[in-house]
Symmetry: C2
Subunit: 480 residues, 2 copies
């Protein structure tokens, strides 16, 4: 419907660049569903506009969106369509749109954008976001873009890039509001009104510093706003939670989450204030780190929304090959005892149940342990208690399942020894699963490795191997 | 060491309640490691203080901590030790400490605290946090606590509780800063200075409202602070992202994340401003929802750090029993074709590899799909493209693994038909795994269900069943 209207008025619009069939507000309502996700119909409208070469309509559709929604839109288009949309983007918004994009998409767009345009776009961003984008450029282009930027912006970005990836130094903005202890509320507000441009657009705390620029406290600006002008800052400030510039971003996220921080001062090794981290960057870190755990537990790294089939295969096949190796080792237990199976084929039927239940119980323990480690609910202070508890849980679950499966086996096969074999094998395997599920992530954490990565492949191997071995070995002992 | 010092001076301290062996700052340094997690040694110091009945030392140790750290400390103590610590907590901090606690722990502490103490403690909290705690009380106690609270606080909490759990209404604070369009910056700041107590301690945006109290825009207070007093608000405001009071908290989190919001106005069905949601509550939601996904994919609900062995068994055994049922159905494929195994035991050895690889490939697809659905990268707009891509990935992975495993089988067993059997079975199973791994979560999402819950148990069943069936059926066809 909207499409038709646009077609009809297309000729008439040619000389009136700002005339519109819908207001930007109406378009935004069309674009976003009730859940603020991009509407598939709106993506189709964009595709139609490209197909019909209606550039005015296209610009209209794109400029009605927030940067985050334009980035989303790009993700839903194929590369051909994107090429038509990118040149229409407002240079002012381009930086933000790029910094909202997925990695794969971003690389493509960065390649297609001239260095000077990029330099202008990045100057509009906060240092941390601009550095993030610069970091994704190849060396030649990075050099060109930095050269095309203003002196101050370039220096700030280069300093940010000198910090390691995924540390506080990379997350922080170098713009913040600091004030000496002896200032009053009024002096601070006057300073803010005068200093305008040197301050970030958004800030949430005033950091109070001593003469050596070490933070001695912080004041939320809502407190500043409600206090009398003559109140000295020293009277209002509370202890600030300082972040070391080299701290891992996961640690920073933990601290923000724990103390409900909105912003925090970042200090260099000498204790001097060098930047601030704001909670909006942390929201991203928390989301990303949690998603990394989900993927790591499943033995997969996400190749991204716009990855090609080849890229995805490359990201998944290595884990599957590793799984092929571990599983080959696991089934060697079957190969060794295959005479038992030749004697009693029922063992081949029941064995996979024992392995599968073990795998499942191990994965449960593992997922709970990984979650508890990430939220520091599981630490050296209570590790022993949690291990003992998990082992007891494993024993109880094992006994309960053994009773059910033992009875079912007896009813079906009328073979008491077979029933006892699978029952005992289940108890053993679920016990081993509990032990592996809690010890593997704890060991990885202790070694300073990510407990989510590779522990699930180990636990699956362990429970498959033990499942096969326990059933066949017990069968050999009980039934000869 | 610290322990001894405390012992020695214990008598002397008895009449000087504020004398300390370390300053609170020194104690806080002792309490928290570099990673801001609670130090195991500090937990031991608290335990020592309880054991030796040194209440002064205990109070000293506890009051040096932030509420979040006291909540943590409680989690590391057993119930007996907690009973000694709780009466020492400062009533002012008690509310915050309780609201930082895990559910299990919180229930225990709430039971042990007198209603009047609780009422005072909850009055110190924001409405949303207080309502959360009240919601955990049994009916009798809830009535007593509400009756002991002031009229205004009680009414606010009752209104909050009238909204459904996990909606915007429950997350929002009913205290916020609103101003009419025609006010200037100066008028707004003066209003804040006068209205002091009716405003929340922390706020980040001024919501500009029309005469019917509908929000027409928002201004970050840092912008307010840097603008001249005579500037009209209408000139500074930008469109606010409004949140419906009934919106699911996961949607709210998505919007905050997408648009990098610090606070947002909440509107009732009539469009009137009724509250605000701040980002610190959202950080919690994002963390919790991501962790729920991890646990759901592993087929487990977390019983909490302080759950008993029985509680944990109750939370895990049902999933394992369900797994027992699905796996029994899966192995029926083996039971039907068990003659094949009797003829060639090697099939019993190779079959589990085919199932396991299928399960692994299915879990990879599933984890990526669940992540993409949660971040709305996978929607109706690109579902078809993603399904096609996953199926292609499945085929390519299947062929690659089939070549490796087929060759290995041939080298080991010198049986061409057996090698072809496992190769073809692998391709079939990995293809089915890809299809199941993407379609199961999409179907659940379409039905309005959580795509993480129960899809992994379905995919595992599917790939086990198909793995067994494919190997044995193809063996029957090829080898008779």
């Amino acid at each position: 419907m909207t499409r038709d209207t646009a077609e009809l008025t297309k000729e008439a619009l040619d000389d009136i660049p700002l005339a519109k069939t819908e207001t930007p507000e109406e378009l935004e309502d069309l674009a976003l569903g009730d859940d603020y996700a991009l509407n598939p119909d709106y993506v189709d409208m964009v595709i139609d506009a490209v197909d019909s070469g209606d550039l005015k309509r296209l610009r209209e559709l794109v400029t009605a969106l927030e940067p985050a929604d334009v980035a989303d839109l790009m993700g839903f288009l194929t590369a051909d369509y994107r090429e038509d949309v990118i040149p229409l983007l407002d240079p002012e918004a381009l930086g933000e749109i790029i910094s909202e994009m997925d990695e794969n998409l971003r690389e493509e767009v960065l390649e297609a954008t001239p260095s000077v345009t990029l330099a202008r776009a990045l100057e509009e961003l906060d240092t941390d976001d601009a550095a993030d984008v610069i970091d994704d450029l190849d060396e030649t282009k990075r050099f060109q873009v930095l050269a095309a930027m203003g002196e101050t912006d370039r220096a700030a970005i280069e300093t940010t890039l000198s910090y390691e990836d995924e540390t506080a130094g990379r997350l922080m903005q170098r713009e913040f509001l600091a004030a000496p202890e002896f200032w009053t509320v009024g002096q601070t507000i006057d300073h803010v009104r005068d200093a305008g441009d040197q301050l970030p657009e958004l800030f949430f705390d005033v950091y109070v510093v001593d003469p050596t620029f070490k933070p001695v406290g912080a004041i939320p600006i809502s407190i500043l706003l409600r206090s009398r002008r003559e109140t000295p800052l020293a009277e209002l400030m509370e202890a600030a939670t300082e972040i070391d510039v080299g701290m891992d971003q996961e640690e920073v996220a933990y601290i923000f989450d724990k103390y409900h921080l909105i912003s925090a001062p970042v200090i260099d090794p000498g204790g001097r204030l060098v930047g601030q981290i704001t909670v909006d960057d942390i929201v991203e870190v928390i989301r990303d780190e949690a998603q990394e755990d989900i993927l790591a537990l499943a033995g997969v790294s996400d190749a991204g929304r716009d990855a090609s089939v080849q890229e995805i295969v490359r990201s998944r096949l290595p884990w599957l090959l590793l799984n092929l190796v571990t599983e080959t080792i696991a089934v060697s237990a079957i190969a060794i005892f295959q005479d038992q199976i030749a004697k009693l084929v029922a063992l081949a039927v029941l064995m996979p149940i024992v392995s599968s239940l073990g795998g499942n119980a191990g994965t449960q323990t593992l997922a709970v342990a990984v979650r508890a480690l990430a939220s520091k609910e599981l630490t050296a202070a209570n590790a022993r208690r949690i291990i003992v508890r998990e082992v007891l849980v494993g024993l109880m679950n094992g006994v309960a399942l053994a009773i059910v499966m033992g009875l079912a086996t007896f009813l079906f096969y009328h073979n008491g020894r077979l029933a006892i074999t699978v029952g005992v094998a289940l108890i053993v395997n679920i016990f081993i699963a509990a032990l592996g599920g809690i010890l593997a992530p704890l060991a990885l954490e202790k070694m300073g490795r990510d407990p989510a990565v590779s522990s699930s492949i180990f636990v699956t191997f362990l429970t498959d191997f033990m499942g096969f071995l326990a059933v066949l070995l017990i069968a050999a002992l009980l039934m000869g």
